[in-house]
């Protein structure tokens, strides 16, 4: 990894047409200004990681869903047997909890 020290107001250039300027450097965070062609997508890394994880989690086959449920039930402390150990199990008794589901 290339490491470069910069101060607020200074910039780096990546390739011929991308500039990243340090607009502000605080104790915990820095503010960046990014200039580049519209064709280059700029996103926060965690958004990409979250999207990848969501995409893999949200569209599981019925078989994989059943596998997860089975494995969760087999683990001694989770999840059906954890009610005593999770005093803040947020959905118990709360109206957001769906009623008994009757699969059709």
């Amino acid at each position: 990894m290339l490491v470069i020290r910069r101060r607020a107001g200074e910039s780096i250039l990546i390739g011929p047409d991308i500039e990243i300027e340090i607009l502000d450097a605080g104790v915990n965070r820095v503010k960046l200004g990014i200039v580049g062609p519209r064709s280059i997508q700029v996103i926060r890394k965690e958004v990409k990681l979250t999207a990848e994880t969501n995409l893999s989690a949200g569209l599981l086959s019925v078989e994989l869903k059943d596998l997860i449920v089975k494995k969760l039930a087999r683990i001694p402390q989770a999840p059906a047997n954890t009610s005593d150990k999770t005093p803040e199990s947020e959905y118990s008794g709360h109206p957001i909890q769906a009623e008994n589901l009757d699969p059709t």
Partner: protein, 153 residues
């Protein structure tokens, strides 16, 4: 639209369910903003979040503290605003808000939970957002089986 379809659960009526609204959708599913909350007897505390417009989209979630009992949530002022939680108001997991993690399978087909980006739901208005916990060392694919093994096993 009251009757919705689910790949996992067939069809059911959303009027009988709580529906969580994620105004910005979720990363990867930006166009899916409304999810019916379903729990199945015998499978608690699993909470399924079934998209009401996309039958094959259903998230398997559990309270974060099932896996990490001391799980701490850090919400920025912007995130509180997105949930319509007044600044300075109490935000207790299990009281005012729910903190659910999404479970998937890793490459070895073992369940893994996304502890790094939990779903936070305001329990009073059912607004939700997915928040990235910057600065935490929580993993996007936390191996559940390992986490729940008793000490010494």
């Amino acid at each position: 639209m009251a009757q919705i379809l689910s790949r996992y659960f067939g069809s059911f009526d959303t009027r009988e369910r709580e529906v969580v609204h994620f105004p910005d959708g979720l990363p990867g599913f930006e166009d899916q903003t409304h999810y019916a909350a379903l729990s199945i007897p015998g499978q608690e505390p699993i909470l399924y979040l079934q998209s009401i417009t996309r039958p094959e989209l259903c998230l398997i979630t559990l309270p974060a503290r099932v896996f990490v009992p001391g799980y701490q949530l850090d919400l920025s002022p912007e995130e509180q605003e997105a949930l319509a939680l007044p600044l300075g108001s109490e935000m207790r997991i299990g009281k005012e808000i729910a903190c659910q993690v999404i479970v998937t399978v890793d490459q070895g087909h073992e369940p893994a939970a996304n502890m790094a980006a939990p779903l936070v739901i305001n329990l009073s208005n059912h607004l939700g957002i997915q928040v990235f916990q910057a600065g935490s060392n929580y993993s996007f694919r936390y191996p559940i089986a390992e986490a729940l093994q008793p000490d010494g096993c």
